[in-house]
């Protein structure tokens, strides 16, 4: 009889176990996990931009020294900080921007006309080459190092941002240049950071968001306009950085 008691107890406990672990207990399915995006420069998955380092510096042509801004460091720091925040939001934390600022302004060996940035109001990268060449041979080691490691740092992607004491904004060979006036001038400062962001993303190979177009009117008058092809920071520059963004198409081409 004892064995029957034991058998019954085993059956009861087994039934309890089934009740406890099976009845009313959901089977949980594992959904496929979103893999973390491997962000990269525009159109080139080989070059990661998980970590971007910006070296900021203040470049003053020899003939513009008196125009130099004493508060240039704070200005540049604020702008880079804002840029870093903007970048973090756009890339949802998959890409991180850090920066260092060379603490001493770099005075150019030549006058402003030599650097030719007057004509780069809308960005003429080819004229920046003189600045870039000079920085490569700069007495400042940080500047030389930054220029030497441009674009393909082993642990992070290196970019140089030049706050230029002059007129113009451009980007070439991972160097983004922006006029100090765009950052501090009363008519520009609301969207100076957006300007910088625009040029910065050019250094990540993002293409222009506007094109030169011709607009025709009923009287056959035609005028040249800039037509927006993208309403984001690559197309619309004259908006505060708080309002700006990178389009989904751009982000998609950068690995998101």
């Amino acid at each position: 009889m004892l064995k029957y008691i034991v058998l019954v107890l085993v059956i009861i406990l087994s039934t309890l176990a089934v009740l406890y672990f099976r009845v009313g207990v959901s089977r949980i399915y594992e959904e496929p996990v979103n893999t973390k995006a491997a962000v990269h420069i525009y159109g080139n998955p080989e070059q990661s931009i998980e970590r971007i380092h910006i070296t900021g510096l203040y470049f003053i042509p020899r003939d513009n020294v008196e125009l130099g801004d004493e508060r240039w460091y704070e200005t540049l720091e604020q702008v880079l900080q804002k840029l870093a925040e903007f970048h973090k939001v756009q890339f949802m934390g998959t890409s991180q921007v850090t920066y260092t600022i060379i603490p001493t302004p770099i005075v150019g060996l030549s006058e402003s006309r030599v650097y030719g940035t007057d004509v780069v109001y809308f960005g003429n990268p080819s004229e920046m080459k003189f600045i870039v060449e000079e920085l490569k041979n700069s007495p400042f080691e940080e500047a030389r190092t930054a220029l030497q490691n441009l674009g393909n740092g082993s642990r992070q992607y290196e970019v140089v941002v030049v706050m230029y004491e002059g007129v113009g904004a451009a980007s070439a060979e991972n160097v983004s240049l922006i006029s100090r006036l765009f950052l501090t001038g009363p008519q520009f400062k609301d969207f100076g950071t957006t300007y910088l962001a625009h040029e910065f993303y050019h250094s990540l190979e993002v293409p222009e968001g506007y094109i030169e177009a011709e607009r025709s009117f009923a009287d056959n008058q035609k005028i040249e306009v800039e037509a927006l092809s993208s309403p984001d920071v690559m197309g619309r520059i004259r908006v505060p950085i708080e309002q700006s963004y990178l389009s989904r198409e751009t982000l998609s081409n950068m690995g998101l």
Binding site: Y4, I5, V8, L16, L19, V23, S26, R238, E242, Q243
Partner: protein
């Protein structure tokens, strides 16, 4: 201890049956009912969860659609009131835009665009003088200029998620302009965040491209992440409704890795998706509670049954055990005791019937004993007379006896002797059972009656060439015994030893003092006794029936009488034997003390 517990719990078959059936009766209904309840409660609960989730989703869909309807409606309604020549901007436009911005906090920027794609007026909360742009190539313009509403992709700014919307401005049935606005979704997302699903549920808003819009993401899946590859998002955006009832609607959350139950629907007007996730630990709490209660009740029931069933069984088993013990006593001949069963039920009636049966058996035995006594007593006289006359005839008192006559008379004499012995034995048994036998114990040197017995047995032993050896110890304490009875005992044991030993064997008699007793042993190397026969050896009329012993005469009463006499003298008798290897009959008697012995009388009946 374990053995005692086991015996207490399971030492009774009825008790085991009680425990068995109690467990079944207590636990099976709980399990069946509980399991059934749990199953149906779970089914109903899942439906409730699904209904709740879908209800919340429908509520929020309404809010989202209303948000966009109002947003686009504002653009359409307001501007339809204006008659504007195509291609030029009206001086009223800035004021109108200003008005729209003021009355719609979600609007961050609004612009009118002519049919050529040139912004004709614009107002922005971020910029007092926003730049008028040529937006012919933007999809928002291209969609709206074709007469369709436009809701763009969600983009994320430092001030939160935004979306571009655009609507055609129709004047007199002709699309005159396009109104385009940048709308902040923060207020909409705050509304979605307030959706309460249990205490830990979450709601997710996903745009048509699979981008997570709502801010209830996680560190690994923040807002802005494209989760289109997640099958649930893909299916909902494709138009499928996830009810939360399917097996796959219970899954590991992408955001928290905990088990959740999820539902989802497409927002039909804008083709976005709304999904909800509710942690199963929160959603199914009620079902878990029921399951735990069933488990607890069942385990408690088992424990109670294991504790209580033996007690119930004991109440039933105890009277039965009492009856069993009493039946064994009756089997041993003790008819005097009564069973006391006071249970107030059939068991008490059984006890009463049992007592009556015992009385009846006692009366029967008394009648039987009386009969045997009377029969033996009455038989004794004629048997004795027959013995006398046959002896006289054989001696020639009635004339010469020879040949056949002598033979007949000799056989008659032998048969009569056996009959006389049987009568004597029966009389002795009857006296013993009637309590009429007299035993007078006094200090006795047992060696003397033993020697006398051997002298008597020698003749019989010589006939079979059996050697009888007696090593009387030089000193032996006296025993308390009746001398005459000791002689009877020794005659019986020695006589049996000679009878049951084949020719050429031997019989040894010895004494040993031990533990205040004197043990006397009669050992032979005869036929031996099987273990089965040893159990019945001292019963009335029992005789060993084997091939070797079938021709040996006897009444079967000798050992019974011997045992009775020894026990009346406060002694014990026992046998050790092995079939084919002889037997040793031993009995012990108490050593006589200093006090003078008290004569042992028979017990009264």
């Amino acid at each position: 201890m374990i053995f005692q517990i086991r015996t207490f719990l399971f030492g009774s078959k009825i008790r085991n049956k009680f425990i068995f059936f109690f467990i079944i009766l207590a636990c099976v209904p709980v399990l069946v009912l509980g399991g059934t309840t749990l199953y149906f409660v779970d089914v109903a609960h899942r439906q409730d969860v699904s209904n709740l989730e879908l209800q919340i989703i429908d509520q929020k869909i309404e809010e989202v659609e209303s948000f966009f309807e109002n947003t686009l409606g504002v653009l359409e309604i307001q501007v339809e009131a204006i008659e504007t020549p195509v291609g030029s901007s009206s001086p009223w436009e800035p004021f109108l835009l200003e008005n729209i911005l003021e009355s719609n906090p979600a609007f961050k920027e609004i612009a009118f665009i002519d049919t050529g794609g040139q912004e004709s007026a614009k107002k922005s909360r971020f910029n007092d003088t926003p730049q008028l742009l040529y937006v012919k190539d933007l999809s928002s313009f291209q969609t709206a200029i074709q007469g369709r509403r436009y809701i763009g992709e969600v983009y994320f700014t430092l001030q939160g998620p935004m979306v571009t919307v655009a609507a055609p401005i129709v004047v007199n049935g002709v699309i005159a302009q396009v109104a385009r606005a940048e709308v902040n979704l923060s207020s909409l997302l705050r509304s979605i965040a307030t959706a309460k699903i249990g205490s830990e549920g979450r709601m997710l808003l996903v745009d048509r491209n699979g981008v997570l819009v709502s801010d209830q993401g996680s560190a690994d899946v923040p807002p802005g992440t494209n989760i289109l590859l997640w099958s649930r998002v893909f299916r909902v955006l494709a138009g499928e409704t996830l009810t939360g009832l399917a097996a796959r609607d219970r899954y590991e959350s992408l955001f928290t890795s905990e088990a959740v139950v999820g539902a989802g629907k497409q927002i039909p007007d804008i083709k976005w998706a709304l999904l909800v996730e509710w942690p199963i630990s929160d959603a199914d709490a009620v079902v878990s509670n029921i399951r735990n209660q069933i488990l607890l009740i069942t385990i408690v029931s088992i424990i109670v049954v294991l504790l209580v069933a033996p007690l119930f069984a004991a109440r039933l088993v105890q009277p039965i055990r009492t009856l069993e013990r009493r039946a064994k006593e009756i089997e041993q001949g003790e008819f005097g005791k009564q069973v006391e069963i006071k249970t107030g039920d059939e068991l008490e009636e059984l006890g009463g019937a049992f007592n009556k049966m015992a009385k009846g058996l006692k009366r029967l035995e008394e009648l039987q004993e009386e009969f045997v006594f009377v029969a033996a007593h009455e038989l004794r006289a004629p048997v004795t007379i027959i013995k006398g006359y046959v002896s006289m005839a054989l001696e020639g008192d009635a004339g010469p006896v020879k040949g056949q006559m002598r033979k007949f008379l000799s056989q008659t004499q032998a048969a009569n002797d056996r009959l006389l012995q049987l009568v004597e034995d029966l009389l002795q048994v009857a006296r013993s059972e009637a309590g009429r036998i007299t035993i007078e114990v006094k200090p006795l040197d047992i060696r003397k009656p033993t020697q006398e017995t051997i002298n008597q047995v020698q003749q019989l032993a010589k006939e079979k060439s059996i050697v009888v050896r007696y090593d009387a110890p030089s000193s032996l304490p006296n025993v308390l015994a009746d001398e005459r009875r000791i002689t009877e005992i020794m005659m019986n044991l020695a006589g049996n030893a000679v009878k049951y030993t084949p020719e050429g064997g031997h019989v040894e008699i010895s004494h040993v003092g031990k533990n205040n007793k004197v043990i006397t042993s009669v050992k032979d190397n005869g036929f031996g006794i099987s273990e089965e026969a040893q159990k019945k050896l001292f019963e009335k009329f029992y005789r060993i029936q084997t091939e070797k012993t079938k021709d040996i005469s006897g009444t079967g009463l000798g050992l019974f009488i011997t045992k009775e006499i020894i026990e009346k003298m406060n002694g014990k008798i026992w046998v050790t034997s092995k079939e084919g290897q002889g037997s040793t009959f031993s009995f012990s008697l108490p050593v006589a003390g200093d006090k003078p012995p008290v004569p042992q009388k028979s017990r009264t009946t």
